[in-house]
Amino acid sequence: MTESSALPAEPTTAPLLSADDVGRVVDRIAHQLIEKAGPDLGSLVLVGIPTRGAPLARRLAGRIETFSGVRVDVGTVDITLYRDDLRLRGVRALEDTRLPEAGIDGRLVVLVDDVLFSGRSVRAALDALRDLGRPRAVQLAVLVDRGHRELPIRADYVGKNVPTSRSQSVKVRLAEVDGADSVTVTS
């Protein structure tokens, strides 16, 4: 999920990733997923973490089908009710949790998010998955890894590693949510 969605103003700095860059990064992750899953590709489930992880998961599924001809299942898991920082951040509207008909038991689940930062969102998503079923394995794909982990979590697929300072904000925009694709860093 976007850790900086409250950012009000348009950034004046040039984007770190342009719309074309975002497309290329998504393609690359799709190729990596196909390669790494191998014969298991059919049992793969892409589970997006709302808000922007959800369209990202759908895009990845679309690219995987284009490149491999295999249609993979997609779902979303809202982690709001699993967060451990509600007291600090206050409540927010909940988003969809939708899993494929076949569920996730015994399957390879790849969590998809836009930015990997503290790792707390992923921790919450893992807790949510545990209540939803028992996957064979869980992996993580993110568009941007900006560092500053607070938990022992790492991504299996990273679109771009971006060194940042803690005070900076990383803003991912996706056409489905924001009208256009870009990734920017603002101080």
């Binding site: 009710l81 699993y82 206050g90 409540v91 509207a93 807790d127």
Partner: protein, 310 residues
């Protein structure tokens, strides 16, 4: 946003607040649908006290289940057999519970406004689970949720509320909430069971049930207590039932899609015939189930945020 501290009355909720509660309840319901583990860690470490001065097993259990599904610790404090029956005041009871670490008090009380008083005395959240003849906001929220679930919308839905409006906290909460959400509310009752001042409510008032049923999307039957008969609110149970009860014949005059609601507990044969209560139009069982989701949403929205934040 409902990042208020208390839920005291439906009249307090604006359209965005109310919609957020309903949407949150829907998300919670779908998140839990089909799961074996019907439990979320959201309110782990929080304590919810059910402070019930009136017997209401169903409401108490619904709140208890809601709090437990969000992993809160739940304490049930019934006024009977406690210090309350020894004359302890509401204020002292509330301050005692808070000193024991309660984060929220869900209160049912026979006196209108008791939750408002409580909210003036405690730091934590107060949820009104029914106060006197004033309001029962979570009942209205679950009713609105049920209508939206069945009919797909609330805006423009024609809701007829029938019965003892004068003494009904359910009716008051529904009037305000449904009006806020864009429904068209009609009250039908003997004039003795409508409050003086009902003219200032955002409703249409009628005395003839048969006249309004063919144009109703929802009929909500209120419980009528037989003791009202003794105070001459109406002459007899039979006459009441004949003029204001929902029987199979009357149900037949409803539009095809219309639903029949009742907040429970029902007086079968009085305000509602058994065959109506058990018909496919009846949402009475749905209402009970939806109550848990809606109360989870309320507890999440009130307690999920920073303690004491407005």
């Amino acid at each position: 946003m409902v990042v208020k501290r208390h839920l005291l009355e439906a009249a307090d909720l604006d359209r965005d607040d109310a919609t957020l509660v309903l949407d949150t309840a829907a998300q919670i319901e779908s998140a839990l649908a089909g799961r074996e583990v019907k439990k979320l860690p959201t309110l782990r470490g929080r304590t919810v006290v059910n402070l019930f001065y009136e017997d209401s097993t169903r409401t108490r259990i619904s709140f208890e289940l809601a709090a437990k599904r969000l992993s809160a610790d739940v304490i049930n404090f019934s006024a009977k057999g406690s210090s309350v029956s020894k004359g302890e005041s509401l204020k002292d009871t509330a301050l005692t519970l808070e000193a024991m670490g309660s984060d929220a008090i869900v209160v049912r009380h026979g006196a209108s406004g008791a939750p408002h008083r409580l909210a003036q005395w405690v730091q934590g959240s107060v949820v009104n689970a029914g106060d006197g003849t004033h309001e029962h906001p979570t009942q209205a929220l679950l009713d609105a949720y049920t209508i939206r679930q069945r009919l797909g919308r609330l805006d423009g839905v024609r809701v007829v509320i029938v019965g003892d409006v004068l003494h009904s906290r359910v009716a008051r909460s529904n009037v305000w909430l449904l009006a806020t959400l864009g429904a068209e509310v009609t009250l039908v009752a003997p004039p003795t069971l409508l409050p003086v001042g009902v003219g200032s409510w955002p409703v249409t008032v009628g005395y003839d049930l048969d006249a309004v049923l063919p144009k109703a999307d929802v009929v909500m039957m209120l419980r009528v207590q037989a003791e009202r008969m003794n105070a001459s609110f109406f002459p007899s149970a039979r006459e009441y039932s004949r003029r204001y009860g929902l029987d199979a014949r009357r149900m037949g005059t409803l539009p095809d899609e219309a639903i029949v609601m009742h907040p429970g507990p029902m007086n079968r044969g009085m305000e509602i015939a058994a065959e109506v209560a058990d018909s496919a139009r009846s949402t009475i069982v749905d209402q009970v189930g939806n109550g848990v989701s809606v109360r989870m949403a309320v507890l999440y929205l009130l307690l999920g945020g920073a303690p004491g934040s407005e």
